[in-house]
Amino acid sequence: MVTQGTPPLSFSKVPGNPSFRKAAVNAVALVPLLSNKDDGAPPATKSALSFVDLLESLRRHNTAAPQIVAEDELLLVIPNSSLTRPGDWRYNETPLKAFHWQHGCQRLMLFDGRPQESRPAHDRLINQSITRDWIDLCPSRRTAAVVGVLNLHDCESHADLHRAEEELHQVCWIKKYRARNV
């Protein structure tokens, strides 16, 4: 006997239990800058500490809608109604004719971008045969954004600031998380 109000259990028989909800999540990698040590020791820079604080703040910020998928992931559901519509956005120019700025939501999955620290980063940077190589078929496996975290106490001069930008943009993280360059 099925009790009223109990949602029916229906799991996909496809491995990984894919769903449209999972396919609608944009992955965002968070990485501390100027904190990468070749010897693998845990970084003790101010940026690394700010990175930890930011993750804690995001978890605290998300308490209204706790959508923690896993220990190393944080799912944010942002209603479209709380977004600021860009001034140059026009309905007659967008391919998304049914999109409404007052209905629906954006889903962001934030994770620690260091491959030693989280499974999503490990899959995207090291185990690319299941992520980047298949983003034509499963665009949800791509990384939508890379966010660098920097504490200015780690910057002695503007050269350090530019070094952090290079680390984010060219040298490391952006290049690692984008699709392969041919």
């Binding site: 604080d53 391919p95 890379v146």
Partner: protein
Amino acid sequence: MYDLDKYSHYVVSLFDTKQWALRFATPPYEVTAHGRNGERDKPVERLFVFDSFDDECQKIDLSKSKMGNSILAFPPSDPEHSVVMDLHLNVVVNDLAVAIFRALEERIKESDKVSRSKGESTTHNRTSFGRLISGQSAGNETEEPSATSPNLSLSNMATLVSPENKLAKETSPASDKAFPKEDSSSPKVSKPVSHVPIANKSTAKIAAAETQLMTPLDENWDFSQLSVRDVEAIRKRDIGRREKAAADLSLLAGSPLDAYERYLKAAELCKTGTP
């Protein structure tokens, strides 16, 4: 006396570096996700800067940063400023969500543009073959296959469109199958159309240069070595795939209704593109 621990650690880090380089290397197959230019699939960038308001950090001018509007200053993260931090996070996360939405929108536009260009080239080819079938091929059109070729019979042209086409059955009752056997005793039986080499070199080059959506299971074909039929099949397949990818991107952009319409359209394209 050498410090063995120190040197072993050095060797391990060297090994790791090689492993990283190998792991981050480009995969062996050539054509990639969103075309041959990886820059087009670059993720959205943001740089969150902390403690920029401290007196010690005032010597760093963030306006000299190369990242422009992508660099965002954050309030202190201590418990005393948690309320300010929450408000700031709300603004920053919303801005990030809008930036990702715009990036997805641009990718859908690019994909639609490529689909349109592929569809137009397919239409152009159909028009050319229609003229060939009706015998109106102009002599100065060197881009089209030669009308004197024995492969360009009406039945072959019909089988090019569809093996089930009436013309393919009615005009060649002796060889009503789309792919006659090569060991046929009759010398007049034409070869299958799929073995006709593509005559339009410029079209082949354009087709080869076009971006494709591929998976590691696909092979990267040299279009100049393929027949017209195979090139058309690959193009149709790619148009269907592109529509499906645009549907996935619409879903990521938070527009499930657009995704639904595109999924339906992709299913129809796959039906028509599959012989």
